[in-house]
Symmetry: C2
């Protein structure tokens, strides 16, 4: 196979975007499906990305005063029943534990036994189980705000699953907070949305639109749901984080009462907010290309692949001395607030095989070191965001500084590219025909027009009609520029809002 003609990933994005996504994951060895229905195995390179997401977000949560804790994985059925909308939203797809043991079935196998008096649900989200603890912890306004976060696994029995984007089990964090007043809770809700937006932009290099969900799309039981929406390279939207203002709904369901400053007892105000391993799906689809994964350096598990090239043992010795000294020189160094990690890859494979291995894994920089480089005191450096064969010669003495500068440049460049792509594909559309045409697939890959920023009258009927006709939904009522008089894109009646429409994951 000639690498000059073909791409490392087949099919390409243009040929079949959905299949390209699966192949990028496979080529980068990020995750795989398991035999357990809809559950994925997150492999070391994929899990290392999740650990980086965790580390950075966890620091941001701490800086904003939150503390981590851990609550039971099981939710008694009776807890679940306390909030009507909530149970409605999650009851249809949940894992129910009904028994506590397996017994010999008399035929060489096992049968379930020890039926529980009350079934337990494996948490699809933890508002009710955490609420039960909070009801005990909160007595007075002096106990507030209570700012808790949990890193945990979650189970939702999804029917159609897809690695990272939609899986029966996934990993996430869920923030749960309790406040004295509506204002405090709303401030927290929006503050955490800002944290998510900053994280997505500064680390994942994904520009996001902040906004509010419509009634139909909000979290079951929430008063308001806010979200960040990102555009993928197929121009579909991916909801990348949500922050919910829960009002007093869950406080009433769980009995979270407190003595306020007027010495009266009142229900508290709560919020919840979360991001999940779905972010890895967003990361893949926002930046990767037809040669595989592209990672923003700030979230990459490792930054520099050092690839020594030699034909015999004498050359090997020369080359490895330089390779190890470069590895040593980079050890402990940083670009911005990120520690630089390296991979010295001297496996018994051709240099082309090793190069492509790291290209597909999305490592930001590759350094090739051959005997001639040792002699000349310069090495060849390749950037993942440029063409695979595009390499620069860098003097060994300048290498560290070059790497530090280049990683920052790449982070900014990857963001700028994603931002331009998104902005090029958000179109103000006020005409119904144009809107329908915008969402009619233009080619076999079914890549459509992108985000339509269009007037909407606010009615559920119009929202539903557009969803039915085009599989397009209101992604959010964006914070910026949503108040504008116009005519609804669906029914042409007067509208006061301009909202973001899109097909979505």
């Amino acid at each position: 196979m000639s690498k000059q003609k073909k791409t490392a990933i087949e099919p390409t994005r243009e040929e079949n975007y959905a299949e390209w996504y699966q192949q990028v994951i496979k080529a980068a060895d990020l995750a795989e499906n398991s035999d357990v229905r809809g559950c994925m195995v997150i492999k070391p390179w994929g899990y290392a990305i999740w650990e980086n997401i965790q580390r950075v977000l966890d620091g941001m949560f701490r800086e904003t005063g939150h503390r981590n804790a851990y609550f039971p994985i099981f939710i008694p059925k009776s807890y679940f029943e306390k909030e009507a909308e909530h149970v409605e939203g999650f009851a249809k797809e949940c894992a129910v534990v009904t028994h506590s043991k397996l017994e010999d079935d008399g035929q060489g196998g096992l049968k379930v036994a020890g039926e529980l008096t009350e079934p337990y649900i494996v948490r699809p989200t933890s508002e009710t189980i955490i609420g039960a603890s909070f009801a005990k912890w909160v007595n007075s306004y002096r106990d507030l705000p209570l700012l808790i976060n949990q890193w945990a696994n979650i189970v939702r029995w999804e029917m159609r699953t897809r690695l990272f984007l939609r899986t029966a089990e996934f990993l996430w964090q869920e923030g749960h907070t309790v406040h004295e007043s509506r204002e405090d809770a709303m401030e927290e809700t929006l503050k955490m949305l800002d944290v998510y937006a900053s994280f997505a932009q500064d680390y994942l290099a994904i520009p996001v639109i902040k906004g509010e969900k419509t009634e139909g799309e909000k979290f079951p039981g929430a008063v308001n749901t806010y979200c960040i929406e990102a555009m993928m390279q197929d121009k579909k939207a991916l909801q990348s984080g949500t922050s919910h203002f829960l009002g007093q709904n869950f406080a009433k369901a769980s009995g979270i009462k407190f003595q306020n400053r007027q010495s009266e007892f009142d229900y508290a105000w709560t919020t919840s907010w979360g991001v999940s391993t779905r972010l890895i799906g967003a990361l893949i689809m926002a930046h990767s290309d037809d040669n595989g994964l592209v990672l923003p350096p700030k979230i990459a598990p490792s930054h520099v692949a050092i690839i020594p090239i030699y034909r015999d043992e004498t050359e090997r010795e020369q080359v490895m001395v330089l390779a190890r000294s470069i590895e040593q020189d980079l050890k402990g160094s940083q670009f911005e607030d990120i520690r630089i990690y390296t991979e010295l890859d001297d496996r018994d494979l051709t240099s082309s095989e090793r190069n492509w291995y790291w290209i597909k894994k999305g490592i930001p920089l590759r350094i090739e070191i051959g005997p001639r480089d040792v002699a000349s005191g310069a090495v060849m450096v390749a950037r993942r965001d440029l063409e695979p064969r595009d390499k620069s010669s860098v003097a060994v003495g300048d290498l560290k500084e070059y790497i530090i500068r280049t990683l920052s440049e790449m982070q900014a460049g990857i963001y700028a590219r994603a931002l331009k792509f998104r902005d090029d594909n958000i179109v103000k559309i006020d005409d119904n025909k144009e809107f329908y045409s915008f969402y009619t697939p233009k080619n076999a890959a079914e890549i459509h027009g992108g985000f339509a920023f269009s007037p909407w009258c606010g009615s559920v009927d119009c929202e539903e009609k557009i969803k039915e006709d085009l599989k397009v939904t209101v992604r959010c009522i964006p914070f910026e520029g949503q108040n504008e008089d116009g005519k609804c894109i669906c029914c042409a009646k007067p509208s006061k809002l301009r909202v973001i429409f899109a097909k979505s994951y």
Copy 2:
């Protein structure tokens, strides 16, 4: 209540050790029971200890070449049935998922629905589910060793539960590795046992005995189980970590085959090893006293409580300036490889209340700052490992260096105290009567004699008889000093081994 007469924790260790343990947890606000049978809620101070355990161990795993990954929480019943001893060991207490939704029961409640074709077990350990992936990942000796670790939640439907020590759900790490040969797998098994022992001694300040479990006590399905055993202050043993040599048992059950260096296909050799939130129980019981939690500084979530004392606003301003400057001065400083964290506690409580709050939480150092201290340029520092009222005056200019030095001293001192206690309570006993007397409670608190280092003939019958008579078990066949001719402490027949007996958690 006069603090000079009473202790902060009631009952004391002497009065009722088991209840003292619960009260220490409560007073330090580490964890609590939930309404979900046997499941605990780990509160922020307790969870922060777990995060420190994770951070240090994770670094040690990485240094020894391991990578983290994540596998499904559910194990199909059929996987579970593949290894006979394994299923026998776990089937009697497991959470079984049988349904995938809840439906309206027509009476305003919900009933389970959507029965699964095959029940799933919530993982009680992951050998079989991880084995299924490993069977796909391993093809050749070039893929080996495969060194994977997982941080996860685990469910075992334990009957009698106790916070941290034995809970239906707990958190742990489980290492799972695959090797070419018996020798490599055995080397890994013992290497990870050493990692656990170093961690327990260097960070938790708990001396441990390394040894091998007897046939009756080993992990279901393992060929050999190795463990570290620690002595608690009631002289009972607590198994603090295990490392299993699994031979080819699980490779055969999961089909982990590889092409070896002779180009033949063979089953691989595997290991697994784990420690859990149980370590927090060990930490509490090894070091705490009748005033509450005592934490080795290297594992404490925070190290210094700064307690400003003032009577009016003028004094407050003076005192807070110094308090903040001390806080600032300590920011980012380290003792050994540990970052120092501080808590500036200016809550509207008396200084005594704030002092006792931090004593019960086990913070290593407390600094009191009053107006006179501001004037004299010296502050009062109290160490958690000394009497509550024992305080030293330290000049502000020397404070940072004093703190760094003292935290190291305390870490060493806490370990030395635990080591002396343990060594004082390991007794070589060769006589049957003495052995039985050693394990007969001497007082109401039922604190018995400690660890007996005694000859054992190796028979299961003797092991069982001693267990039945005294609730004493063979904790391990220790690596050091176990080969010695003698007469079995139970049957008096010739024995070749001296082993560690104890009552245990």
